[in-house]
Chain length 235, copies 2
């Protein structure tokens, strides 16, 4: 931040100076995805410390990238993108498209923790495509080495806005069992592979409710960048 400016007369460089501090763009993406609360952003980013997130949010506010709205009555704070940072969408889209086409899937999908993937997946479930009753889906990650929490439960209550995500057994009957790995599941979400292909490759097993299993392609939405032409697939 106080890092010495480039000192170039070049708009791209000025943009870089604003956007380069670590997590800045990721925070904007998180807000873009709908998070507004401190701890939602934090979970969405997975690995950021609350200290740094707090600092960064204030810097971004000072730079006019975000707006901080404190609701004293309700006792909480919401963060929103400003006009200024919303106007970054074309640039961010262009970066995403570039990454989809020019970064190999194995690299682009590696290194993500199961918890981070699941927290993102939670937002990608289309409740309208699920039965109008409670549904419990258990994900089991068979990575090597195994993640800290290898099991996750997605609990969908009828009428809820978002599913619930648990990393400890909520003690409900399970409708659908999903066996997968971080890379395979990430590849599906990012459009680098598909449910069908991962089943074939052995990266995805479904068991339990056959209806839920069959409709997975509908109730699990893929990323908005999944359809970019020229996306490099998982080999």
């Amino acid at each position: 931040m106080t890092r010495r400016p480039y000192g170039l007369i070049c708009p791209i460089s000025r943009a870089c100076e604003i956007l380069q501090p670590r997590w800045t763009i990721q925070i904007l993406t998180e807000l873009w995805n709908g998070s507004t609360r401190f701890n939602d952003i934090r979970r969405g980013l997975g690995n950021i410390s609350s200290a740094l997130l707090s600092r960064r949010l204030r810097q971004m506010e000072a730079l006019g990238l975000i707006e901080r709205i404190e609701d004293k009555a309700a006792g909480h704070v919401d963060y929103y993108r400003t006009e200024k940072s919303i106007k970054l969408e074309p640039a961010m889209n262009a970066l995403a498209e570039w990454a989809q086409c020019h970064i190999e899937a194995e690299i682009a999908l590696g290194g993500a923790e199961a918890s981070t993937i699941m927290w993102g997946l939670r937002r990608m479930i289309d409740l309208a495509e699920l039965p109008r009753r409670r549904a419990v889906i258990r994900f089991h990650f068979r990575d090597d080495p195994p993640p800290k929490y290898p099991h996750y439960w997605i609990v969908v209550e009828p009428g809820a806005v978002l599913p619930e995500l648990c990393s400890l057994d909520p003690g409900r009957d399970i409708d659908l069992y999903v066996e997968t790995g971080t890379v395979s599941l990430a590849a599906i979400l990012e459009g680098r592979s598909s449910i069908a292909r991962e089943k074939e490759r052995g990266g995805l097993f479904l068991s339990g409710d056959p209806g839920l299993a069959r409709s997975m392609g509908r109730w699990l939405r893929t990323s908005v960048w999944a359809t970019v032409a020229g996306t490099l697939p998982l080999s």
Copy 2:
């Protein structure tokens, strides 16, 4: 570089991981502008140390962003962008446009050294718009505090590909005298102001050959981003 990855399943984040190390994007811009040689890039960036430039070039080569071509016979090395980094142009254009519209001119134009501006200006002279004889133009920067070298000479020889730039008196007769300041000149180059406006504001004085003075708007090209609609002007 070995900085810990974000660990997010998000193409934008992967793009960031590749592009965030300091000077990476600036190097790409330099190559885009036509530089191919180590010392040209270095001068274009103004403030980078040769040690860091060398390191960064090798990392970028390893990432597939640039190609290093060694001409043993001629005894020199050229750097070129690869297909991969050329495909970043849409993203870079989007960033430039955003910066033009959302970063105030005073901030966007501040802090550049006269030497860096002049080295860029050197590439923005349209030789076809200059008389077919030798022309010498002297720039004088009246900044406060004054730059290390307050005077620059642009020497255009007929038939040359690029003008020469000197910071020490080449001892030629001078055809045109330009008195200006770093911010004013930068504003003209970046399309945040114009020659006419800077003359009015007192940011630019011309004296000497009236023909050269009058045609300055033609022989001095502005940046490709100068015409972005909504560019924030210098106040």
